[in-house]
């Protein structure tokens, strides 16, 4: 059956709703309100670079923490029986069915100055800790929201690993540590990379998490863009310029991942 034409409607759809909008971002970034070419949208770039740097640092920290949690978690889980593995993965997906804003809002009640955490610390005689409206709270919010995106690809790679490689390594005299370092870890790298992009990109572009848990103290790239389009400082041209900078970052991150893995592994969410 030669049915190439079945793709025609979607090819048109992609042209209009995927390609043209991205072209519009570029056009807006280099024009002003009168539609003339200008570079003035990039004038205040030094101010943005500060926000840019802040966002990159927080997103990198969140990504690193996610990796440090997700890798051992997936490694341990892969050794359980079929039923446990299945239920465990369902339980990782389940929270995603609850709106992320609500779950993040629930963290506010936990982290507040007189919230649950401090009530609990008070019971065992430890002083109150100030977490809400700091960068720590924002990073925690990112880790909390995006951890499943790190676990899913890493687990699916480790779970499908050919056990014969491990047996071969052991037969050839590798101890546990060597087997892990020279066989298991290198083979799981595609999952790690795809997890890293899947956490880093939403972290760098979030604006709701920083608003809720950072209380305006932590101003991120996402907040800056949102402000230009729907906030007080309406300026889609400036907003597009910042979005374009973010887009460059996204492309770089994706290219790095695609160099190593085939990139399809992580896209399969279920």
């Amino acid at each position: 059956m030669r049915t190439k034409s079945a793709a025609v409607p979607y090819v048109f759809w992609m042209a209009v709703f995927v390609v043209i909008p991205l072209v519009l971002i570029v056009v807006y970034a280099f024009t002003n309100f009168d539609g003339e070419f200008t570079l003035s949208n990039f004038d205040n770039i030094d101010v943005f670079l500060q926000v840019f740097g802040n966002s990159v640092v927080l997103a990198l920290i969140a990504t690193a923490i996610c990796l440090l949690i997700a890798y051992p978690f997936s490694y341990f889980l892969a050794q359980e029986g079929t039923l446990v593995r299945k239920i465990a993965m369902l339980l990782i997906m389940l929270p995603m069915w609850m709106n992320f804003l609500l779950r993040t809002y629930a963290w506010m009640s936990i982290l507040e100055n007189n919230g649950f955490l401090n009530q609990l610390l008070g019971l065992i005689g430890l002083g109150p800790v100030h977490i809400i409206n700091t960068d720590i709270a924002v990073v925690l919010g990112m880790v909390y929201n995006f951890l499943p995106f790190m676990i899913l690809p890493i687990f699916s790679v480790i779970d499908k690993l050919d056990k014969r490689y491990i047996e071969a390594a052991q037969d050839l005299g590798a101890n546990k540590r060597e087997t892990f370092r020279r066989v298991i870890f290198p083979l799981s790298l595609p999952g790690v990379l795809s997890g890293v992009t899947m956490v880093f990109i939403p972290s760098i572009s979030t604006f709701a998490i920083s608003k809720l848990l950072g209380g305006g103290m932590s101003f991120l790239l996402g907040d800056l863009i949102e402000m230009q389009f729907l906030g007080s400082a309406y300026n889609p041209h400036l907003g597009s310029a910042i979005a374009l900078m973010m887009l460059v970052l996204v492309v770089v991150a994706t290219l790095i991942t695609n160099r190593f893995g085939d990139g399809e592994e992580g896209a399969v969410l279920m």
């Binding site: 979607y10 341990f76 039923l83 929270p95 609850m98 709106n99 506010m108 992009t197």
Partner: protein, 277 residues
């Protein structure tokens, strides 16, 4: 797999789940709270559940969310399945090009997808005389849903025996019949899976809706976001608790059925082997 888990591994994994479920537990508990506070417990009550069913704003946002998610998932499934079949039959070059473009909405940051579509809708709206609303919201949802459908259907097409369709037609089926009676049943699991992922993505989306829905229409997530600026009413906790319970029940039913089916298949296979000996 590699070795048995020790106590440390078990405790570590339990802690991860505690971390993931802590806010959800807080949320559910406080949906039964007798006061508006979100940190002080004032006794058990179903007050917020009663309020919920009287709150027009939340109910209408909820129905918008369901409507847009169902419509977007169905349309995206049709569009995406057709596209996957078309891509599958293309030469390598055009196929890879289209698949790369198809991947953009999935890998791109939501906020960029959101503002870029907003630019298009505002631009085209000024030209053609429409404004942001349910239509633009639906188009945006379809746009970010189709890639997941394409990605779910493509592997099924690759597994397909390429001669299957021709065999059916040799046996007298029209191309249309060959498609519906022979190819469709093979693709069905992938299509259903794609539709489910699409629906989940729509329900869960906040950022793209926020930029493309305009000020007249509001999804549940947008409603919640608007509320966080003041104070979230525990009614929303109540609604989330109900949704959570429904999803949990559905998952349990689906999985119990799957496990039963697998056991049944195993039994049959065993019986067959015995018969063969």
């Amino acid at each position: 797999m590699m070795q048995k888990n020790n106590a440390f591994a078990r405790i570590f994994n339990v802690l991860v789940y505690l971390f993931l479920y802590l806010p959800i537990v807080v949320l559910i508990i406080f949906s039964f709270n007798d006061s508006k506070s979100r940190t002080v417990w004032a006794g058990f009550s179903l007050h917020w559940y009663q309020e919920l069913f009287r709150d027009e704003e939340i109910l209408s946002a909820f129905s918008t969310t369901i409507t847009v998610s169902v419509l977007a998932a169905v349309i995206a499934t049709v569009l995406g399945t057709a596209a996957a079949i078309g891509f599958h039959n293309m030469k390598r070059r055009p196929r890879n090009l289209f698949l790369t473009i198809n991947n953009i909405p999935m890998t791109n940051a939501d906020i960029i997808t959101g503002v870029s579509l907003m630019l298009l809708f505002v631009f085209a709206g000024n030209l053609l005389g429409f404004s942001l609303g349910f239509g633009t919201l639906l188009v945006a949802h379809i746009t970010f849903n189709v890639p997941y459908v394409v990605l779910a259907v493509m592997p099924k097409l690759r597994q397909l025996n390429p001669n299957l369709g021709e065999a059916a037609m040799d046996l007298g089926a029209t191309p249309w019949q060959a498609f519906w009676k022979v190819l469709m049943p093979e693709l069905r699991p992938g299509i259903l899976n794609g539709m489910l992922i699409a629906f989940t993505m729509s329900i869960d989306d906040f950022v793209i809706s926020y930029f493309t829905a305009g000020s007249e229409v509001s999804t549940l997530a947008m409603q919640i976001y608007a509320m966080t600026r003041k104070r979230i009413s525990p009614e929303v906790n109540a609604l989330s608790t109900i949704l959570f319970a429904v999803v949990l029940t559905l998952l349990v039913i689906v999985n119990v059925r799957q496990v039963r089916q697998e056991q049944l298949n195993e039994k049959r296979a065993r019986a067959l082997r015995k018969g063969g000996n």
